[in-house]
């Protein structure tokens, strides 16, 4: 494992940025996501109108990987339909599990591709997917 493949500029910028890390106005969905084993905890808020994610934000505490991953995810899903967001989440899960390696297919994950090497760090996979699993549960109407 090379640290510079994990703690990239994209990751540290997102981790240090508050751009997506704040409550949003008039959320239609608000859902907590937790990794009980490490204590990471985020609350994801979405404002969905006519099937489109108009705005999204998150709050909470967690490691750089979980926080950056959630922030990158929000950049990616804003303005997309919930169906599209779910498809991207599944693509992300495939990448993190190391099942989807094809760069062409992963291209649409944009900055989230910076998290690809987490697939070589089994202990950190759950950090990378926390925000995305919360998104999946939020859209599918699952409770915490």
């Amino acid at each position: 494992m090379e640290l510079n493949e994990i703690y990239t500029q994209i990751l540290t910028e997102h981790n240090n940025s508050r751009r997506n890390k704040h409550p949003i106005e008039n959320p239609t969905i608000s859902l907590k996501g937790v990794n009980p084993s490490c204590g990471d905890e985020i609350t994801l808020q979405l404002r969905v109108r006519a099937g489109v994610i108009e705005d999204a934000g998150f709050t909470g505490v967690g490691c750089a990987i979980s926080q950056a991953s959630a922030s990158i995810m929000i950049d990616l899903i804003k303005g997309k339909t919930t169906k599209e967001a779910l498809r991207l989440a599944n693509l992300f899960f495939g990448m993190i599990k190391g099942e989807i390696k094809d760069e062409g297919r992963l291209e649409e994950l944009d900055e989230a591709v910076a998290l690809k090497d987490i697939s070589h760090m089994p202990a950190r996979v759950k950090c990378a997917v926390l925000g995305w699993h919360t998104l999946e549960n939020a859209i599918e109407g699952k409770k915490e």
Partner: protein, 408 residues
């Protein structure tokens, strides 16, 4: 050069291309070759189901198992072999006391007193007892230096207290709690004392007579024995009046269709085939540990603790939890955080340099809440750690904030 390197082959390997620096000894220790060989020898030449067979091999296995029990009895200063119950680990030992003593003898309105820093294994079982029996959990809160003051002990242990659960050494703060003083106070109040010595027995001599606790639990794996063998010491008169914990083979006297009578101590609490290989390994670990000597263990760990705490004080943005002033009477456990960096990121960055530390809530979530932190990193020493290990740790830690784009 590490004088113990030959005995601990696992320490001589590389992790991520770097020399392994193992600083997670509070989670589990490493095993020296004499322990590994003793277990190997048992399975090669003496293995059979103990207490059962009438043939020579089984008699040998029984002898090895009971010899291990005697070795533990001497090691902890217990009065009789039957006061030593073999379990899987300290957690099982503490659960045994909670399920058997706690469920049988605690009543509605009774109080169970315990420090908020207890490991979940000496806290969650008491929550169960309290809920089932209508008893109340009363917490003792350590001061800024991680100590339990006399005032706190006197205020929380009262005539309503029926049981006190306390760790000898905190697995997060490294504090050494005054078990003897607590036990004297508890006994005067008519309460029994359950001491979790998982973090003390590997590092300092624990004599149950001097400790004063009625029950004492520890794990083999934190003191170089295999995983899966642990000990519960209990005072004989208490163990005798307690109902069994697990029921089944080996722990009975007579079994009828509707009723059973139980075997005498210690078999009453050892249902099913026991971990004889583990007990043999534990005996070998005791021999090895006594060969090293507690004086030397204490001296080495205290030097490492002092050196590392001094080093940490020089690194900006590092916060240490627990007492840093009274270092003489403190375990070799250092919990810390790097400001602005989550403990899991710290652990991953140290891991890239081959350094193994723990990050998380350390099975002490109520303490994390009390300290107002989500989680911490923890470095913990054993006698086979060296100054070079501490240097590697400190050097790697200096780089952590840089990896996250933060100023040093």
């Amino acid at each position: 050069m590490n004088p113990w390197a030959e005995d601990f082959p696992i320490l001589n390997q590389k992790m991520n291309g770097k020399r392994l620096v193992y600083l997670d000894n509070a989670a589990t220790s490493q095993r020296p070759l004499p322990v590994i060989r003793a277990v190997d020898e048992f399975y090669r030449t003496q293995n059979a189901n103990p207490h059962r067979g009438l043939y020579e091999l089984s008699v040998k296995a029984t002898q090895r198992y009971e010899d291990a029990r005697s070795a533990v009895r001497k090691f902890i200063g217990a009065g009789e072999d039957c006061e030593v119950i073999f379990t899987r680990n300290a957690s099982e030992s503490l659960n045994l006391v909670a399920y058997s003593y706690g469920m049988a003898f605690l009543r509605e309105g009774d109080e169970i007193a315990l420090p908020v820093s207890e490991h979940h294994s000496n806290l969650v079982p008491w929550q169960m007892v309290a809920k089932a029996k209508g008893a109340k959990l009363v917490y003792l809160y350590p001061d800024r230096d991680g100590r339990l003051t006399d005032e706190e002990i006197d205020a929380k242990i009262t005539k309503r207290t029926k049981l006190v659960a306390v760790a000898h050494v905190s697995n997060v703060l490294g504090s050494v709690y005054p078990v003897r003083k607590i036990a004297d106070r508890a006994h005067a109040a008519g309460a029994v004392v359950v001491a979790d010595c998982a973090q003390s027995v590997p590092h300092r001599r624990v004599n149950v007579q001097e400790l004063g606790a009625d029950f004492m639990a520890f794990s083999g794996h934190k003191m170089m024995a295999p995983m899966g063998i642990g000990v519960l010491y209990g005072r004989k008169e208490l163990l005798e009046k307690m109902p069994p914990f697990l029921r089944g083979g080996e722990m009975i006297e007579y079994v009828h269709e509707q009723d059973s009578t139980f075997a005498p101590l210690p078999q009453k609490f050892e249902a099913g085939t026991q971990n004889v290989g583990g007990a043999v390994g534990l005996e070998a670990a005791i021999r090895y540990l006594e060969g090293v000597g507690y004086d030397r263990i204490q001296k080495t760990e205290n030097e490492l603790l002092n050196y590392t705490l001094d080093g940490l004080a020089e690194i900006p943005h590092v916060v240490v939890y627990g007492g840093t002033r009274n270092r003489e009477n403190r375990g070799g456990v250092i919990s810390f955080n790097v400001e602005g960096v989550h403990p899991h990121d710290v652990a991953s960055i140290l891991d890239a340099d081959g350094i193994a530390v723990r990050a998380g809530h350390h099975c002490a979530q109520p303490l994390m809440d009390y300290l107002c932190v989500n989680s911490t990193c923890r470095a913990s020493f054993y006698f086979y750690n060296t100054k070079e290990d501490a240097d590697a740790f400190l050097e790697s830690l200096r780089k952590v904030r840089g990896w996250l784009g933060l100023g040093a």
